[in-house]
Symmetry: C2
């Protein structure tokens, strides 16, 4: 018999202690990282669909899939909504019903929790190599465990021998590009000796969080797992160089339930329920051959006006003979996005302005997203998104976080977004439109114990906020 939240809260205190420890990444991390980058050389070359060995368009539906039936398919989605500037559209969508594992292994060294991070190559990555969770495995990967192609360290996350689970929750991925995709976000603690392969490294949590400030190092899968970690309200100051002391203190209070919040949890949940109710959206999978507004050539599936994204094929070849080469489709967005939280101190407690976003691929219609999230090219001719000026026109002294971060390089090619946290004045209006709410970091952390509340972009920003206090 155990008390209700013991494990989670104990982990929260421990992670916070780790985050308060001084950073050492500059000294220990970069030599390893440079060495890994030299060891892994890959060429990623666009190829026509006709050369995508093992992938083919179904003659009846036009869906693009692997001949094994595994991995994912590119299908069509027909969307009908009663809100927003565009209410009816078709689009290609990635359909991947199987649930993968994104897992970070945690172990204490000298009382400080460290994360076993991986230097992992993905074909769509900026810089090819990014810092990834210990385990990043699709179900196709890990059910193959006993037939070769073993995923390292997987045994610590599933099966009889696994470690002590601290976090284990399904979270969504891009609702504009994936149909109801969820991945299993896990944090597992181990105590025994773990052999460390060359591509892996134990890093203090503080170091991992600090690396978020360097462009395109910490990958999306690592960011989402970091966002789900519990953090108790820090008692002391980290001395972080990334944010001024007053903002750090306001963020620390934002993790403390006793410090209060603009809306209590009942109000917040009620608002969220109201937003889900208010939006009626139906999104049905249809044959890719039947979607309108898009055209397929031998080289790409692209929007007729060049908007949004295109789907292409690539060939991936490794410089070393050990790693096999392969071919696969990737989704390439047409440009760089801007993704930002406005942050504001309310009675000394940092709040961020979250937006109830409707995306057709969400499992349940609405998830909490950033204040601003846009692919700029998509908005030509449409109304200017709210709060965009507050983000892009912010005085540099008010920018608390600003880095280019990549989306999942196993599915997306060169998909990098500029992620920002901008602190507005305390006299910035607290009043906001119906689909926005000011929430604390502690409230977002609490919701992240459950599925379908925060979008993957909001989760990246939550991880970035944890790097600031």
């Amino acid at each position: 018999m155990t008390s209700v939240t013991a494990v989670y809260e104990r982990a929260g205190r421990s992670f916070t202690a780790s985050a308060l420890a001084p950073a050492a990444a500059d000294r220990r991390f970069w030599p390893w990282w440079r060495q890994r980058s030299r060891s892994h050389r890959f060429d990623v070359t666009p190829i026509p669909f006709g050369e995508l060995v093992d992938w083919r368009f179904d003659p009846a539906t036009g869906n693009l899939g692997h001949t094994s039936g595994k991995f994912f398919t590119i299908e069509g989605l027909r969307v009908r909504s009663d809100h927003g500037p565009v209410r009816e559209w078709d689009q290609p969508i990635i359909h991947q019903p199987e649930i993968g594992i994104l897992g970070i292994l945690v172990k204490e060294f000298d009382g400080v929790p460290h994360c076993l991070m991986q230097a992992k190559m993905e074909p769509g990555n900026i810089n090819t190599l990014q810092l990834s969770p210990t385990v990043q495995a699709t179900r196709s990967n890990y059910t193959r465990v006993h037939r070769g192609g073993r995923t390292r360290y997987l045994e610590h996350f599933v099966g009889e021998e696994r470690g002590r689970v601290l976090v284990d929750v399904l979270q969504s991925e891009q609702g504009s590009w994936f149909y109801r995709k969820r991945n299993r976000n896990m944090v597992v603690e181990v105590t025994g000796d773990i052999p460390v392969h060359d591509d892996f490294r134990w890093l203090a949590l503080r170091d991992v969080l600090d690396l978020l400030h360097t462009d395109n190092i910490v990958n999306m899968d690592a960011r989402t797992v970091l966002s789900c970690m519990p953090f108790a309200a820090p008692g002391g100051d980290s001395g972080s160089r990334h944010a001024p002391p007053e903002f750090r203190a306001a963020l620390a209070r934002s993790l403390d339930p006793a410090a209060g919040s603009a809306h209590d949890l009942t109000e917040l949940l009620s608002w969220f329920t109201g937003e889900r109710t208010r939006h009626e959206m139906t999104a049905r999978l249809i044959p890719a051959a039947g979607i309108s507004g898009w055209r397929r050539t031998p080289h790409e599936i692209a929007h007729e006006e060049g908007k949004h994204f295109r789907v292409i094929g690539v060939r991936v070849e490794a410089s070393s003979r050990e790693v096999p080469s392969w071919r696969q489709p990737l989704l390439e967005p047409v440009g760089r996005g801007v993704i930002a939280f406005l942050a504001k101190r309310i009675d000394g407690v940092a709040h961020v302005l979250t937006h109830a976003r409707v995306e057709p691929g969400f499992v349940d219609t609405v998830e909490l997203g950033p204040t601003v999230q846009l692919l700029r090219e998509n908005y030509t001719g449409l109304p200017q998104p709210r709060y965009l000026d507050d983000v892009l026109g912010a005085d540099p002294s008010r920018i608390r976080f600003d880095a280019l971060l990549s989306e999942e390089g196993g599915r997306f090619l060169d998909a990098q977004n500029r992620y920002l946290v901008v602190e507005v004045d305390e006299d910035f209006p607290a009043h906001c439109p119906q689909d926005y709410r000011w929430v604390t970091l502690g409230q977002l952390s609490g919701l992240l114990r459950h599925s379908h509340y925060l979008s993957v972009q909001a989760r990246t920003l939550v991880a970035c906020l944890h790097s600031l206090w």
Copy 2:
């Protein structure tokens, strides 16, 4: 600025106080109820589909829908699963994307919270009239507010003038009969004077819970809202006549987080995530004309072997001229189900055995269901469901709850199930199969603040458990 859980926890203490107050329903409730039953007389007559005015089968798809495009449609569902005795099937399914409101208005009288309950007729109800929430409105209903057909008391649940929201959460309905249906479960507190229409009555919470023990009085919509109400651990004993004192005390401890539980919340959430991951099920809407294993006649859509359910049309006529008559399709299950929780004291704390159920219409694959849930006729020739003998063969002295309760009479005809809570010996094995877990009532209550955790049948049993302590 408010503290994080203030409103919810205060309401929990207040509801518990109400539940501990002595019951008075026998004295005050029944005369009103009998009078209401006499005032509302309805005839519900099966008719051929051809006489369903305003409903028609789409010639292209065979889907049955209302000519306005509103309400709901009967479509086809194609299910492919990797678990269970039957892994591939087609079936008709009710598709109703709009989200309705099920709301109970609460007000304190002499310090005791009362619920404004409604005597409401639904065509499929056993006994026609059942005790229903204050508001039971589809979105088609309530967006029509200003064009006549006003839903009474709706203004307390939506809009500027609404009361203080205590509960507001989307919950699923039958995943075998509905495609991704959710309703908004609300509890709203008011303090001002409320005119009480003849069909409505303020009842103490204890009285409403007590009425669960009478067959087919408290409707499904009322039960699900009751299950979402917060209850603090009771300090005293209710003196309830429904359960022996030791079981009442064990249930009271089951609401107290400090009393402990077989699994802490982190373990429980991890198990649940594992169950969602383990099951791969795809359920796609397809044209009803394309489903196999079912046949459509002028009178019904029925399974070829007479299993599961059938869809028919009915004509509803009121005895009084005030209420209009109408025609609609209803889903009629082929028999009565058995739905039960096994309960067991672990270190003096009552736990129930929940089952991670896969149903094709769930929004996210798996929800927590009862220990046993079956429509007996469906299991002919299939393996006997687990724990069925423990329920049906239980010594009468171990049965803590046993009543026939109806499912939603607006969609289902004569759909009544026998709901049971059976307490097993303390030496009943705590060990259980992978897809079952022993959980406390407090844990289930906590999960009910969020969507997509408990099935509607489990929620009915949670309401029944609250009637026992």
